[in-house]
Amino acid sequence: MQPVATTFFFYLLAGLAVLGGVLVITRRNAVHSALALILTLLSLAGLYLMLYAPFVAGVQIILYAGGIMVLFLFVIMLVSIEKSQKEEQFNKLWLVGLLAAIALGGLFIGVYVKGKALFPEAKVVLEEGNNTQGIADYLYGHYLFTFEIASLLLLVAIIGAVVMAKKRI
C-alpha cells in the first residue's frame, strides 16, 4: 500500500513527542509528568510504525508505555504528591542541564551536517511483512537454544528475588 501524507504525519508525531517531552520536565505534578511521558512514548511508537518497524513499535508500547510506566506510577504512588508540589527544588541545575542539552543538540546537528557520507543516499524502504517474521525466524530458529537459556535466566532471577526478599520460605 502506498503511504499517504507521510510528511504531515511525521511532523504531527514528532511535534507531539517534543510537546510531551517538554511537559514531562515542566509539570510540577508528577502524575501529569508521567502522563506526558506516555504521550511521548506513544508518538515515538507511531514514528517506528511509519518506518515499517511494527515489532519495535509494539515493543515500545508494551514495554515502555506499559511496563516501565507502571513502574514509574508505583514510585509516584510512594511519594506524597501534594507535598512535593509545594516544595522548592533544592538543586538548581538548570544551567548544567541547558549546557548538556545544547551540547547534545550540537552533536546531532554536527553529525547531520558533516556526516552526510555516513548515511545512505536513497531512502531505504523495508518490505512490509518481513520485519516481525524475520525476528521470529532468528529467535525461534538460529537462536532457539539461547532463547531458552534466557528464559532460564529470568527464572533464576525470580527465584533469587524470592530467596533474598521473603521473610520465611
Binding site: 530458529g141 539461547t146 537459556i149 532460564l152 530467596v163
Partner: protein, 514 residues
C-alpha cells in the same frame, strides 16, 4: 518463509546439550520437591542434586563417545562448539559442583539456612557455566555468563541473617553488573565490526581487518578489545579488577566461597580462552602486552596483600587471585607464538592442568575451613584454625597437603600446573616472566606456611574435638586423594588433557588459529 523446526534442533544437538537439559530438570525438580520435604530431611535435596550431577556426567560421557561420529564440532546452528576442551570443562564443572555440594550439607544445618533453593541455584549456575564453556556465539556466552553470575550473587547472599553475607552479595552484584555492562559493550562493538555474533565469524572478520590495515588495528577494534578484556579479566578476578573478590569470598557461605573459587573461576577461564584464543586471536599482538602487565600486577598485588591477612577466607581469596596471575602467564606464552608451535599447546595444557589440580586443592582447603564453622564459632580467622592438629589430626594433615600443593611443592598436584606453565614460558622465550613467576611461587610459600604453622605449632583455643560430618569427610577424602594422586602419578591426567587438546589439530578450528 516457514522453516522446519527439526533443522534447528537435530539429533546431534540433542545428544550434545543433554547434560544441560538434565541439570535444568533436576534443578527444577529440587525446587518442587523442596516444598514437600520436612525441615529435618533437607539433606535429601543435596542427594537429589548429586544424582542430577551423576546423570549429567553420564550424559557428558555419552556425548564424549558420540564426538567421533560428528563431522563438525559445531552444534545448534553454530552457536555451540562441542570439542574435547568443552567435554573437559564440563567434567571439571561437575566435579567442582559435586564436591562443593558435599561440603555444604552440614554447614547449612549449622547456619539454619538449609533450603532447597541453594542446591537448585548451584545446578543452575553449572548450566550457565556449560553455556560459557561451549558457547561459540557471543549472545549465548553472555547469557550463560549472566545465568551463572545471578545464581552466584544469590548464593553469596544466601545467609540472609548475616550482615557480611548481605554486604558481600550487594558488592558482588553491583560490580558484577557493571563489568557485565562493559563486557556487553565490547561484544557489541565486535558485532558492529564484523556483522556476526559467531566467534568464528568475528575471528575471520578481524583477520581481514588486520590484513587490510597492515597489522595495525583501528581504534574501534582496540576499544572493543579493551572493554571485552576488562569484562573477562573481571570475571577471573585479575588485578586491577580484583577488588570484589576478597569481600565476596569473605562474606559468602564458606561452601560457596569454595565453589566460587574453583567452578566459577574455571568457567571464567573457559570463556576467556574461547573469546581471546578462538575469537580474537588475530588481535593477539595487541592483547599480549596488556596481559603481561595484568599478570605481573596480579602476582605482585595478590602475593603482597595475602601476607598481611589474618582472615583465612580473605587469605585464600588473595591466593586465588595470585593463581590467576600464574595462569595468565600460560595465556601469554600461548598467544605470543605462532599457532602450531609447541609453546602454544604447552601453554594451553598448563592452563587446563592448572584448573584441574586447582579445583581439588582449593576446594579441599575451603572444605577444611568450612568444617571449622560450628555452633558458636564462625571459624574463618587464623586463630580458629590454631591447634587443628590436636582437634582433628587427619583434617590438619590433609590441609597441609592442600597448602603445599597450592604453593607448588613437587610431589603434589600443584607442581604440575606450574611446571607446564613455566615450561611454555621458556619455550616462548619469556625468560624474565618465568623467573618472576617462580620467584612469586616461592614467595607465596610464606603465607601458606603461616596457616600450617598455626595448625601444628600453636595451641588450640578450643580443645574440643572438631566434629566432621560424613559429607565433609567424603569431600575431603576425594580432594586429598586427587591432590596427592595427581602429584605422584600425573600420567593419566596429563593424557586426559592431551586428549582434550586433540581437537586443536582438526581442520575446522585450526583454520581460525592462523
Amino acid at each position: 518463509m516457514i522453516s522446519n523446526f527439526s533443522q534447528f534442533f537435530t539429533l546431534a544437538d540433542y545428544a550434545m546439550v543433554l547434560p544441560i537439559i538434565l541439570l535444568t530438570l533436576f534443578a527444577l525438580g529440587i525446587l518442587l520437591i523442596d516444598l514437600m520435604v520436612p525441615a529435618e530431611w533437607k539433606w535429601s535435596n543435596a542427594v537429589t542434586a548429586l544424582i542430577g550431577i551423576a546423570f549429567a556426567a553420564g550424559a557428558v560421557c555419552k556425548a564424549q563417545q558420540n564426538l567421533r561420529l560428528m563431522e563438525s564440532p559445531f552444534v545448534l546452528s553454530g552457536s555451540m562448539i562441542f570439542d574435547r576442551i568443552t567435554i573437559y570443562f564440563f567434567y571439571l564443572f561437575l566435579a567442582g559442583a559435586a564436591v562443593a555440594i558435599l561440603t555444604s550439607v552440614h554447614y547449612l544445618e549449622v547456619e539454619h539456612e538449609h533450603r532447597g533453593e541453594y542446591y537448585s541455584l548451584m545446578l543452575f549456575s553449572v548450566v550457565g557455566m556449560m553455556c560459557m564453556a561451549a558457547g561459540y556465539d557471543i549472545v549465548l556466552i553472555f547469557i550463560g555468563l549472566e545465568l551463572m553470575a545471578i545464581s552466584t550473587y544469590v548464593l553469596v547472599g544466601f545467609l540472609r541473617r548475616d550482615r557480611r553475607s548481605n554486604e558481600a552479595a550487594l558488592k558482588y552484584l553491583l560490580l558484577g553488573a557493571f563489568s557485565s555492562g562493559i563486557f556487553a559493550y565490547g561484544l557489541s562493538l565486535f558485532y558492529g565490526l564484523s556483522g556476526t555474533t559467531n566467534l568464528g565469524g568475528i575471528g575471520q572478520a578481524l583477520a581481514r581487518h588486520m590484513e587490510a590495515n597492515q597489522g595495525h588495528p583501528s581504534p574501534v577494534a582496540v576499544l572493543a578489545l579493551l572493554t571485552t578484556a576488562t569484562g573477562l579479566l573481571f570475571k577471573i578476578a585479575a588485578v586491577p579488577f580484583h577488588q570484589w573478590a576478597p569481600d565476596a569470598y569473605e562474606g559468602a557461605p564458606t561452601s560457596i566461597t569454595g565453589f566460587m573459587s574453583v567452578a566459577v573461576k574455571a568457567a571464567g577461564w573457559a570463556m576467556l580462552l574461547r573469546v581471546l584464543v578462538w575469537g580474537l586471536y588475530p588481535l593477539r599482538s595487541v592483547y599480549v602486552p596488556l596481559l603481561i602487565f595484568v599478570s605481573i600486577a596480579t602476582m605482585t598485588a595478590a602475593n603482597f596483600a595475602a601476607l598481611t591477612q589474618s582472615n583465612l577466607k580473605r587469605l585464600l581469596a588473595y591466593s586465588s587471585i595470585a593463581h590467576v596471575g600464574y595462569m595468565l602467564l600460560g595465556l601469554i606464552a600461548l598467544a605470543s607464538v605462532q599457532y602450531p608451535a609447541p609453546a602454544f599447546f604447552d601453554g594451553l595444557k598448563g592452563i587446563l592442568i592448572y584448573l584441574l589440580v586447582y579445583t581439588f586443592m582449593n576446594l579441599g582447603a575451603f572444605a577444611v575451613i568450612t568444617s571449622l564453622r560450628n555452633k558458636d564459632v564462625i571459624g574463618d580467622e587464623l586463630d580458629d584454625i590454631a591447634g587443628l592438629f590436636q582437634r582433628a589430626p587427619v583434617a590438619a594433615v590433609m590441609m597441609l597437603a592442600f597448602l603445599l600443593s597450592l604453593a607448588g611443592i613437587p610431589p603434589l598436584a600443584g607442581f604440575y600446573g606450574k611446571y607446564f606453565i613455566f615450561l611454555s614460558l621458556i619455550e616462548s622465550q619469556h625468560y624474565i616472566l618465568a623467573a618472576l613467576g617462580v620467584a612469586y611461587s616461592v614467595f607465596g610459600l610464606y603465607y601458606y606456611l603461616k596457616i600450617a604453622n598455626a595448625m601444628f605449632m600453636r595451641p588450640a583455643l578450643d580443645q574440643e574435638r572438631l566434629p566432621i560430618s560424613f559429607g565433609m569427610k567424603t569431600a575431603l577424602g576425594i580432594s586429598a586423594l586427587l591432590t596427592v594422586f595427581i602429584g605422584v602419578y600425573p600420567e593419566p591426567f596429563i593424557r586426559a588433557v592431551n586428549w582434550s587438546l586433540g581437537i586443536v589439530h582438526s581442520g575446522a578450528v585450526a583454520e581460525l588459529m592462523r
